[in-house]
């Protein structure tokens, strides 16, 4: 039997996720001088980190499992970085 997360930790993560949602939804309406996109993506990354670490229990997972998880996100990051950079340069927005 693996260790179970505490009820308190699950509740805390859920409330934190809802708070982050309120933050991203609210900040979308604030004039942040072009930074709205960056803010909402940063919040999405934060929510994902919470879900990955606590709900998906990557915190207590073995190295091999964490490697598999990182591989997914890592390769996506490579795909996005190269495609984005390439396209932005071609469109003159780089």
């Amino acid at each position: 039997m693996t260790s179970a997360p505490t009820l308190r930790s699950l509740l805390a993560v859920w409330l934190a996720l809802l708070a982050l949602l309120a933050l991203t939804a609210g900040s979308a309406f604030l004039p942040l001088d072009g930074m709205n996109g960056a803010v909402s993506l940063a919040v999405a990354v934060a929510k994902t980190a919470l879900v990955l670490t606590f709900f998906m229990r990557l915190r207590i997972a073995r190295g091999a499992t964490r490697l598999a998880a990182s591989a997914g996100f890592g390769f996506l990051a490579v795909l996005l970085a190269i495609a984005w950079f390439d396209t932005a340069m071609r469109l003159g927005r780089g």
Binding site: T2, L7, L18, L21, A25, F29, N36, A68
Partner: protein
């Protein structure tokens, strides 16, 4: 903890249950990594299209339903909470609580799909479905059409994944009591991992589709 001969058949080729559990979790994550790449490819298409049509994406995003989209995000985040509760309850052998939490997860999933369906109906009625019936009076209608193409494809595949998740959770509810304790525990955890990933996909879809340009001018 090693297993006796009678139980060994259940964990072959592993010699210990923990190793079998770790291997299943690892395998599940390899599958989830492939799901990340699947959605990731469509996200990449979104990024490249948005780079080419920034104003159209901003205008199109304003046509999405902020209230329904935000509500749906809250619904899915809560469903991740309920399935995490279920996984915890199964580990602690509180099977009745687990089934209640799993049922709540399905209910929230169905609420999400119902809200999404409502949005789709409104989108189609407003001629936002790409195709012969698409209509947009404004600049760069092609860019707006591309946005909605990506909107329907991403949310459509997401909804399909959610439906599969609902099926998986339903199967767990049906079989939970019949499984041996360790099988119940790790099957619930693996199904929960899938569900959380579907939630993570939506966590990124939400700002990309609904929040591109909401600052009142």
């Amino acid at each position: 903890m090693s297993v006796g001969t009678a139980e060994a058949a259940h964990v072959v080729p592993f010699d210990r249950r923990e190793t079998a559990h770790d291997a299943s979790t690892f395998g599940m994550w390899v599958f989830l990594a492939s799901e990340i790449m699947f959605f990731g490819a469509i996200f990449t298409a979104y990024v490249l299209t948005r780079l080419a049509h920034p104003e159209a994406f901003a205008a199109a995003s304003r046509l999405t339903d902020f209230v329904l989209g935000t509500t749906n995000t809250a619904v899915l985040l809560t469903s991740s909470f309920t399935i995490a509760l279920a996984a915890r309850a199964t580990t602690l052998r509180q099977l009745r609580l687990s089934k209640i939490a799993l049922a709540a997860t399905i209910a929230l999933g169905l609420v999400f799909l119902a809200i999404k369906g409502t949005e789709y109906a409104a989108d189609i009625a407003a001629h936002r479905l790409p195709g012969a019936d698409f209509r947009y009076e404004g600049t760069d209608p092609r860019g707006v059409q591309l946005f909605f193409g990506l909107y329907f494809v991403t949310t459509g595949f997401h909804a399909l994944h959610l439906l599969i998740g609902i099926g998986l959770v339903g199967t767990v509810i049906a079989r939970l009591e019949r499984w041996r304790a360790d099988v119940a525990e790790h099957t619930t955890e693996l199904v929960a991992l899938y569900w959380h990933l579907v939630d993570v996909v939506w966590i990124f879809l939400y700002p990309l589709l609904y929040l591109v340009s909401r600052v009142p001018s």
